[in-house]
């Protein structure tokens, strides 16, 4: 039996190598470019088709930001911090908020949430999660609450603002986000 086993020929190795290369080439060729993924995510966030992005998607964004800082500046606006999820002049159109904060926002160490809803909705606890930090904000009545952002953390970062104990239906509480001013 042992004698029947022959060493694969050089031709065989060549064929294997070329096949692997061709398959790899086509897999690579057919894989959606990360810029397209980023574009789609950006649009989907903007129109409210999605409300949050996965950690791997965030990493993809961070990678693109690193390679193309202009894009990051464009997304984060003149204050260096802006709302990416669906909104109309800061009024969130979805339940979960996604904010992009960059190093340009160093002078803006906070953002404000103007919350309004029926009294039965309160208290509302917002979970605010950054790249390396997390905090909670308890709101007991309609009005403005300030969220202080930690300093010295890794930026750029996506900040997710979610409602921890949502009692009511989706959209039962209006949240308007203001930055800096």
């Amino acid at each position: 039996m042992e004698g029947n086993r022959q060493k694969p020929s050089a031709g065989f190795w060549l064929l294997c190598g070329v096949s692997a290369l061709v398959v790899a080439f086509f897999i690579w060729g057919f894989s959606t470019p990360r810029l397209e993924d980023v574009w789609k995510l950006e649009v989907k966030l903007k129109i409210g088709q999605i409300q949050r992005i996965s950690d791997s998607e965030k990493e993809m964004f961070y990678g693109v930001f690193e390679d193309y800082p202009k894009y990051m500046k464009d997304l984060s606006g003149r204050r260096g911090i802006d709302l990416l999820s669906a909104n109309s002049d800061g009024l969130s159109l979805v339940d979960e908020l996604l904010i992009l904060r960059t190093s340009d926002a160093s002078n803006c160490g906070k953002f404000m949430l103007d919350v309004s809803g029926a009294q039965s909705e309160y208290p509302i606890v917002f979970t605010i999660k950054g790249r390396t930090w997390k905090k909670e904000l308890k709101v007991t009545r309609n009005g403005r609450s300030t969220v202080w952002l930690p300093k010295g953390v890794q930026v750029p970062e996506f900040i997710e603002v979610t409602r921890k104990n949502s009692k009511g239906k989706s959209g039962s509480v209006d949240v308007k986000v203001r930055f800096c001013d």
């Binding site: 810029l35 129109i47 390679d67 109309s88």
Partner: protein, 971 residues
């Protein structure tokens, strides 16, 4: 299986190489295709891709997915809802055609054949590539310009474009173009078509007609001079506006003045070099505010940024209105970046410095936002069009668009990439969301009320002012008391010893009309006060706490040129924005004011608004020194407009002329603020080529014994008379005789006749005679006249048309025309009733209805003409009780020009045709007959002609008609 494996393991090197070759070939093929595609794109945009594999992989991905889609797609849908254009070009011509790809100019035309699925016929065409931007020529789907060279134009269009439109919102331009057309903007028709080029289905293209004769005709305007401006080569933002070298005269009213760009030079000169005073006067007369405001409103609402300093300027000069009208072109929009105008150009900047233009523009934006461009309507339209196109696009293998990558750089942003349905709906949603934001932003900007006041310290006046002296003019004031019964100002002497400066400040987009003032005075039982303007005229006078303003003149903010944060470099960054502007008054009162309240009417929303005490930041931003009317605007940041208070409202001056002889030695123009009354028995004696133009209301009430006469000195040829513009509305010309004139030369407006009525309404011409005109003009010409009423007119010995009516409505009654070198009555795109009229001896047609006219003729006689009644180009003619006698042809329908869609319809009730070589001749139908009714050949049945015989011709019956004609022989 084991066998194969064994052989594979032992495969010889050469065999392995042969087996691996297809794989290697595929990899090499796709790699080189991707590299080539990337290189071509780099060359086309003149930029290098960032030095990594990212963009190579994107190109590879796009090519692979396109090929996959090609394999899976089924091609053209079976039942296409859009027209298919099939173009055939020979191989040699195709090489020449593609040789023009990417060139800025001199792209060659080559002969080709076009057939359209909805039509049986095919067209001989010339075709060339269109556009120098990469998306027009990089892919197999190339934008084309097509010229029909043989036969009728396609749907009236001799020249049209098939554009590979690559905006991701596929239906965006169509929505904007349709909305623009519905709102009075001149915009070429815009449709979707499918193109098959030499047998290859290239998918969906955008059909866009070239602005040409058809566009002007469809917009009910006269074919005329039309200019297109684009900066060719390099230059700063003002280069295109300094002279005419970057402008092309696309169409010309007369072939002979193809090179004449005098009007354009005049416009450019005024824009760049005229003072505020001169430009504003020019603009009010020669720029169509309505048309520009409508066009700019579309740009504003849809966030279009294609009409900047350097490109896409298309301007049409209306020959009979004498004014410039914009033509909308390149309408890519649906973007919002927090400014009202996403781009400005010198015309819109200068116009917005004229308060009434800005008010009009804002009003049009407001109307659009509430009407045709409401979010609901635009979304519905977008969804409807997208659904309609869905089957077409999902089978369009070359469907591609730019802006499908994040804006990491311009290179990525403008890259053309394959588009699919998923992405298309994503973009649709995203663009609609941007539009909603823009809509809400614009609503906020326009609704905002920035209305303030600032009261100065009250001082005591040493003087005593007589109330009687201070009584305001009726035009400026009327006391109005709210709480108490109206009380007249005291007639005896009153002491208004307190003087308080008042500044009314406006700062927003909307003008505010001050409406009401409420003042509480300190310990005052009978208040007496007045509001005096800076020019010392009394605006208000009241003996109560409350007074209403009478003038409804809104107070507008001045504007200045600011700089946009975003946008292209250069002057395309300029933005026009309002700045706080103060109007200064003084309150003179008999008691000291304690509390002050001011109310206004918001000009856009018509809401009542309350003025707030001006906060420090507003007061400190108030413009301290406005430019003078003689200053010239500089197109740079910080430049200011005039203070709107500088606008002089001219009063109407009344001029009386005659009786007796009035000599006119040159061309005399009475402006629109001058009403002219001419006394009966006045004779105007014109020197050679002298003319009279009236822009205000004219009243000429001549009588049969004392007619008003216009004639040349010693029988010499003179020019003409014109009533020009809206202010002439209601003018009357009664018993007026015009003899021996020609037409008016060297004016911005084209005057083709001895008597010209243009761009006005409700004009009465009664008992007038127009005789023996000279030169190659018409005798009487009316254009853009609503409600033209011509009675008892007598036109004789006309060198061309006797009565030429274009784009007008009205009636002609009891006209008598004898000897015309062309037509008796010639209608173009008009709606007229002609009755009780006689037309004798015309070289061409007795009565002609062309270009979409509607003509109703009754009780008339036409004799000795080439064609008694002539109609063409979808005109409608209804005849009742008419006699056509001794004409070569009774009724003729001309060959359609192809510029109008519908058919000619001619119907008759009691039409008598005698002595004609042909009764009816039609080139539009197979049979030479009327559409409705029949023709009678003799006066066997005279009853329908009773009124014509008895009252118009004043004869007993048909047997006397020859005798009647004999007495009125023509040349």
């Amino acid at each position: 299986m084991e066998m194969i494996w064994k052989r594979l393991v032992r495969i010889r090197l050469m065999s392995a190489v042969i087996l691996a070759l297809p794989g290697i070939f595929l990899c090499v093929w796709y790699t080189s295709s991707a590299v080539l595609s990337l290189r071509k794109y780099e060359l086309a945009v003149g930029e290098k891709a960032p030095g990594n594999t990212e963009f190579f992989q994107i190109h590879l991905y796009d090519i692979l997915s396109r090929d996959l889609r090609w394999i899976l797609s089924s091609g053209e849908p079976e039942k296409s809802k859009i027209e298919t254009f099939v173009i055939e070009v020979s191989y040699n011509n195709m090489i020449d055609l593609y040789g023009g790809a990417g060139k800025i100019s001199d792209r060659p035309y080559v002969p080709a054949k076009l057939s359209v699925n909805s039509q049986l016929k095919s067209y001989d065409i010339e075709i060339r590539l269109r556009g120098s931007r990469h998306w027009h020529h990089l892919s197999r789907k190339k934008s084309m310009k097509i010229k029909v060279i043989d036969g009728l134009p396609y749907k009236g269009h001799q020249i049209f474009n098939l554009i590979n439109q690559v905006t991701p919102l596929v239906v965006g331009q169509k929505i904007i173009a349709d909305t623009a057309a519905e709102n009075g903007v001149m915009v070429p028709p815009y449709e979707f078509v499918r193109v098959v080029f030499n047998g290859e289905d290239l998918g969906v293209f955008h059909f866009q007609a070239q602005p040409d004769d058809t566009l002007f005709r469809k917009n009910r305007t006269m074919y005329s001079d039309f200019f297109s401006g684009n900066l060719v080569g390099k230059g700063d933002a003002m280069t295109m506006w300094k002279d005419d070298s970057h402008w092309k005269k696309v169409t010309s009213r007369l072939h002979s003045n193809r090179e004449d760009v005098k009007r354009l030079d005049e416009l450019l000169h005024h824009i760049t070099e005229s003072s505020f005073k001169t430009f504003n006067a020019y603009a009010r007369e020669h720029i169509d505010f309505e048309a520009f405001a409508a066009f700019e409103a579309i740009d504003v609402v849809f966030g279009i940024e294609q009409h900047g300093f350097k490109e896409n300027q298309k301007l049409y000069f209306d020959p009979y209105k004498g004014s410039w009208v914009p033509v909308a072109w390149d309408l890519r929009g649906f973007k919002h970046d927090g400014v009202i105008n996403r781009v400005e150009n010198p015309i819109t900047i200068r116009l917005k410095m004229i308060p009434e233009y800005r008010a009009l523009r804002n009003q049009k934006v407001w109307e659009l936002l509430h009407g045709d461009a409401s979010v609901k309507r635009v979304r519905k339209q977008a969804e409807r069009l997208t659904q309609k196109l869905r089957p077409e696009l999902s089978n369009d293998r070359l469907f591609s668009a730019y802006k499908q990558l994040p804006k990491v750089n311009e290179f990525a942003f403008k890259m053309l990439r394959p588009m699919d349905m998923e992405k298309m709906f994503l973009v649709l949603e995203s663009e609609m969301m941007s539009y909603e934001r823009r809509h809400s932003f614009l609503m906020n900007q326009l609704q905002k009320s920035e209305f303030y006041y600032r009261l100065g310290s009250t001082t005591t006046n040493p003087k005593t002012i007589a109330a009687s002296e201070a009584e305001p003019s009726a035009a400026e004031m009327a006391p109005s008391n709210e709480e108490a019964a109206p009380e007249e100002p005291k007639s005896e002497t009153t002491e208004l010893q307190y003087s308080t400066p008042l500044h009314i400040i406006v700062a927003g987009e909307s003008g505010i009309t001050p409406h009401k003032i409420k003042i509480d005075f300190v310990d005052c039982k009978s208040p007496d006060w007045k509001l005096v303007s800076e020019t010392q005229s009394t605006v208000l006078h009241s003996t109560n706490h409350v007074a209403h303003f009478v003038s409804d003149q809104p107070l507008m903010a001045m504007v200045h040129l600011g700089e946009r944060v975003k946008g292209d470099a250069d002057l395309n960054r300029l933005k026009v924005e309002p700045v706080p502007t103060a109007y200064t008054y003084t309150i003179q009162s008999n008691c000291a004011p304690r509390k002050f309240e001011l109310f206004g009417i918001h000009q856009i929303t018509q809401n009542q608004v309350f003025a707030k005490d001006a906060p420090v930041e507003v007061w400190s931003a108030v413009v301290k020194k406005a430019p003078s009317p003689d200053d010239v605007l500089k197109f740079e940041t910080g430049a200011l407009s005039l203070h709107p208070g500088n606008r002089m409202e001219s009063e109407i001056e009344v001029v009386e002329l005659g009786p007796g002889s009035v000599t006119i030695s040159g061309t005399m123009v009475y402006g629109e603020n001058t009403d002219v009354t001419v006394a009966p028995g006045t004779t105007f004696v014109f020197d050679k080529k002298a003319s009279l133009i009236f822009k205000g209301k004219v009243t000429m009430n001549g009588t049969s014994s004392k007619p008003i006469v216009f004639s040349g000195r010693n029988g010499r040829t003179w020019g003409g008379v014109a009533l020009q513009g809206p202010r002439t509305a209601g003018s009357v010309l009664k018993e007026v005789s015009l003899v021996g004139g020609s037409y008016i030369k060297d004016q911005p407006v084209v005057y083709t006749s001895m008597l010209n009525i243009h761009n006005t309404e409700n004009i009465l011409i009664d008992g007038c005679t127009v005789q023996n005109n000279r030169g190659d003009g018409d005798s009487f010409h009316a254009a853009y006249v609503k409600g033209l009423d011509v009675r008892d007119i007598r036109v004789e010995n006309a060198t061309m048309d006797a009565i030429d009516i274009e784009f007008s409505t009205g009636r002609v009654t009891r006209a008598f025309v004898r000897n015309a070198g062309d037509d008796g009555i010639d209608l173009m795109d008009s709606k007229m009733i002609v009755s009780d009229s006689i037309i004798l001896g015309c070289t061409q047609h007795g009565i002609s209805a062309g270009e979409n006219s509607t003509l109703q003729i009754n009780d008339f006689l036409v004799a000795w003409t080439k064609n008694g009644v002539f109609a063409k180009d979808s005109s409608q003619v209804e005849i009742d009780a008419g006699v056509l006698i001794h004409n070569q042809t009774g009724v003729r329908v001309g060959r359609p020009s192809g510029l109008y869609g519908g058919d000619v319809e001619i119907s008759a009730n009691a039409l008598y045709v005698m002595g004609a070589e042909e009764l009816v001749a039609r080139t539009d139908r197979k049979k030479n007959k009327l559409d409705e009714g029949t023709i009678l050949f003799g006066f066997v049945e005279e009853r329908p002609l009773r009124h014509l015989f008895a009252d118009v011709l004043q004869i007993a019956g048909g047997e006397e008609i020859e005798e009647w004609l004999k007495e009125r022989k023509v040349k």
